[in-house]
């Protein structure tokens, strides 16, 4: 396994924090949600007949990836962010995990290019792709760094797992700043070559048919079933690398957008979902492996306190309490800045 990226994460983390020695910071926790920014051309339709699914119980390893990022403080020159990722896999009846991080970075206008480019370069040594990304804005840095870690974790699974199911959080849309097309294509190709099927579950989607979200449309069939979409076209440079389905895998109110590697034949895509049903717990239409990956990488308040403790004790950053302007100006009507 190529560990250049995590090593670089560690090195840059310590480097960026070290530069903040004797600086002051204000505690500020803010969970950063990665939101879909897909813009569609209104040609999307749903096939009227859902495909009913039968769980297939042949032994298949189910693996999932997720990352989480959080802004844990503000310094006078920038922000302090934390990133963590988790791989969870289910083999026979047991779930196991590898959790990597948290990595803590102090990102400033000064060092953001240096930090991001170094991480990009570290990723590219394994991705064999020329780097062309410009450094994102300070506000985008948390998601971009988390995305780098997520893609690396996804790539590692795609390269190491054989004949398994790999679950991603989000979609298989490429061509965004976070997800360059070639990088995602390479992950999908590596997965396919080892007989894996890659399925991406989006908790939120903005794909609509006749004005309604695709996941809100009701069908009379009893789950589990998939509903195929037709005619998805995204505004360039975004490219959908997966076939998009609406997946209602168990009873309950929830349905999810499910992207499955488009290069895999249709029958194998359906079979992959059926193997998922036969090998993983599915509650509220969401696979347990992916749920655990999310839970394991999410930061709890206790961990935020611990990270703040770490940066004060180990990195010499001093906590300051800058007044909250909302509270200061509007008293009880000020709901806080974040």
């Amino acid at each position: 396994m190529d560990t250049t990226l995590p090593h670089q994460f560690t090195r840059l983390s310590l480097y960026s924090l070290g530069r903040g020695h004797n600086h002051y910071f204000q505690q500020k926790e803010q969970l950063i949600q990665q939101v879909s920014t897909e813009e569609t051309v209104q040609t999307l339709r749903l096939k009227l007949e859902p495909m009913l699914l039968k769980p297939r119980h042949e032994q298949t390893v189910v693996a999932a990836v997720d990352t989480s990022t959080m802004k844990i403080a503000e310094t006078s020159t920038g922000i302090v962010i934390a990133v963590r990722g988790a791989n969870v896999w289910k083999q026979r009846e047991n779930y196991r995990y590898t959790r990597i991080g948290p990595f803590i970075f102090q990102v400033t206008e000064e060092n953001k290019r240096e930090v991001y480019n170094a991480l990009e370069r570290a990723y590219l040594t394994s991705a064999r792709e020329p780097g062309h990304q410009s450094a994102p804005s300070l506000l985008q840095m948390p998601t971009r760094i988390a995305n780098l870690l997520e893609r690396w974790l996804q790539a590692m699974l795609a390269k190491t797992l054989n004949n398994g199911l790999i679950l991603f959080d989000g979609s298989l849309t490429a061509g965004t700043a976070d997800t360059p097309t070639r990088r995602m294509k390479e992950i999908l190709k590596d997965g396919r070559e080892r007989g894996n099927a890659i399925l991406a579950f989006s908790k939120m989607t903005n794909l609509r048919v006749n004005g309604s979200l695709i996941t809100d449309l009701a069908f009379e069939q009893r789950p589990p079933y998939l509903v195929e979409t037709i005619g998805l076209r995204l505004k360039p440079p975004m490219v959908p690398l997966g076939e998009v389905y609406v997946a209602k895998l168990s009873s309950g109110n929830c349905a999810f957008r499910l992207d499955i590697d488009a290069e895999v034949p249709h029958e194998l895509r359906v079979e992959a979902v059926e193997r998922l049903l036969g090998n993983d717990l599915v509650s509220q239409s969401y696979p347990e492996t992916l749920r655990l990956a999310h839970i394991l990488c999410t930061f709890t308040a206790n961990e935020v306190l611990a990270m703040q403790h770490f940066i004060t004790r180990k990195c010499g950053l001093q906590i300051i309490n800058r007044p909250d302007m909302h509270k200061l100006l509007f008293g009880p009507f000020g709901k806080g800045e974040s």
């Binding site: 779930y95 196991r96 590898t98 308040a301 206790n302 611990a306 403790h309």
Partner: protein, 483 residues
């Protein structure tokens, strides 16, 4: 440690895992600017309400209650910081005193700075010195948690009302023996109502040899080596027995008084003459019957004799004890309830008499399970009137609710062993020398032979000590069928 908040006379201190503080420990909260410090005692340790802990715990148990197996790659080593925060605790402390210019005051009216004050553990040995707990007549009770010795001053038991309580087999009798032996060492007169024959061998070492106190222990077994002649008794004492122990009605008591006076005038105070006098006395038949039934009870107890030579032991023992110090152990084992009450009435009456006449200076009375022989009205008498005569009582019981609430309120010292029963803890917590939370919280977790000492002996600084062992032959062990 950091000062978190103050409510009433309780302060809450945030403590981290590397700071080992336990219930019962003392803390010094120093405010350099105010040039004062608070002495506070930890009465409970709780987890700090750290946000996110529940999620943390739930996350580790998602797989049907079994721990999720996996590997954490934590290159920055944040995990120890997470555990550090997660294991933070809040120490609930009671303010005991303020230190200002090296002197103690019980005040808790000021508030130390939350941000500037420093908090450290106060070694109990330092506290003892500050509070000047050990005096000129030291009694070593045992070792405290830091292995230093808890030494109290015997004079802090002088003139005091003490209670030793705790559940069975926690070491109550052992402590009362320790106190008694130490008081003997200071030539005190001690009287023990020994219900189970536990104190009979105080003068013998565990290997059966005589110890230095052997000649100071006087065991008096009623009806055997301890008898009373009517001639020795005052009417007041005998009426006490008849009215309080044998429930003689008032009218009959008046007739008895007349009979007694006449017999005394004739110098015929013997059991036989008393019987004859009742038989021939000109009075109502019911009164005669009442007097006769009590007379026969007295005779049948075997405690009364006409032979004055047979009845000299109590007097002799008290005399010896007055000179050299000594313990008069009244062996109430194998004595019936009525006889027990007769004996106790007699002893208390005689003690008051001797103290009133200054034949005795003062007596330390140790009463085990006093509810089994002490009449209702004596409780108040003992804590008020008899204390002024010089009877300083120590009650020993494993049923704290048998001692009345006003006794707890007036107790000067309480030696508290383990209790787990809420009701028992409630009763003991009524003692005025300490707050209820301290009693409830600390007493519940006391290991056997560890005693929470409250009251004047420790200058109102509750201290836990492991009561030291003594080389005394053990008596009063429970007889076992299988043992």
């Amino acid at each position: 440690m950091k000062l978190y908040k103050k409510e009433g006379n309780a302060i809450y201190v945030l403590s981290f895992p590397n700071e080992t503080v336990e219930k019962g420990d003392y803390l010094l909260v120093e405010d350099d600017e105010a040039r004062r410090a608070l002495i506070a005692q930890v009465i409970d340790v709780q987890f700090a309400a750290v946000p996110g802990v529940l999620e943390e715990l739930l996350r580790s148990l998602p797989d049907g209650g079994e721990l999720l197996q996996g590997e954490d790659v934590d290159p920055l080593e944040i995990a120890p910081h997470i555990t550090y925060i997660q294991d933070a605790s809040v120490l609930i402390c009671k303010i005991r005193a303020t230190v200002e210019n090296d002197s103690l005051s019980p005040s808790s009216s000021w508030l130390p700075s939350r941000s500037q004050s420093t908090i450290k553990k106060l070694p109990i040995s330092t506290l003892l010195k500050l509070a000047k707990i050990s005096g000129k007549l030291p009694i070593v009770l045992g070792a405290m948690k830091d292995s230093s010795l808890l030494t109290i001053d015997a004079s802090s038991l002088d003139g005091r009302l003490n209670i030793i309580t705790g559940k069975k087999e926690t070491g109550k009798s052992h402590l009362s023996k320790l106190l008694m032996i130490n008081l003997l060492g200071y030539k005190a007169t001690v009287v023990v109502f020994d219900l189970n024959g536990e104190y009979l061998s105080l003068g013998i070492t565990s290997d059966g040899k005589r110890n230095i106190n052997h000649d100071k222990i006087h065991v008096l077994t009623p009806s055997q080596n301890f008898k009373v002649a009517l001639k020795q008794l005052s009417l007041h004492v005998l009426l006490g027995i008849l009215v309080h122990a044998l429930h003689l009605p008032g009218t009959s008591a008046r007739e008895f008084r007349r009979i007694w006076k006449e017999l005394k005038q004739r110098d015929s105070l013997t059991l036989h003459e008393l019987g004859e006098a009742i038989r021939n006395w000109n009075c109502n038949q019911q009164v005669r019957d009442a007097l006769f039934s009590r007379y026969h009870t007295l005779v049948n107890s075997g405690f009364f004799t006409d032979n004055v030579a047979e009845a000299a032991l109590l007097e002799e023992s008290l005399l010896k004890a007055r000179e050299e110090g000594g313990a008069i152990v009244i062996n109430l084992r194998n004595t019936s309830t009525i006889d027990r009450q007769i004996v106790v009435e007699h002893i208390l009456g005689r003690l008051v008499e001797s103290l009133t006449n200054w034949k005795l200076k003062a007596v330390f009375l140790f009463a085990e399970e006093a509810h089994l022989y002490l009449r209702e009205t004596y409780w108040d008498d003992i804590v008020t009137r008899m204390r002024h005569f010089g009877i300083f009582t120590t009650f020993i019981t494993n049923q704290p609710d048998t001692i009345r609430e006003n006794i707890y309120r007036q107790a000067d010292n309480i030696f508290l062993f383990n209790f787990t029963n809420e009701h028992d803890l409630d009763v003991v917590s009524r003692a005025s020398r300490v707050d209820a939370e301290t009693v409830r919280s600390i007493a519940r977790d006391l290991p056997p032979h560890n005693c929470l000492v409250l009251g004047k002996v420790v200058r109102d600084f509750p201290i836990v000590a492991n009561i030291k062992a003594m080389d005394v032959k053990t008596m009063g062990e429970t007889r076992l069928f299988f043992g």
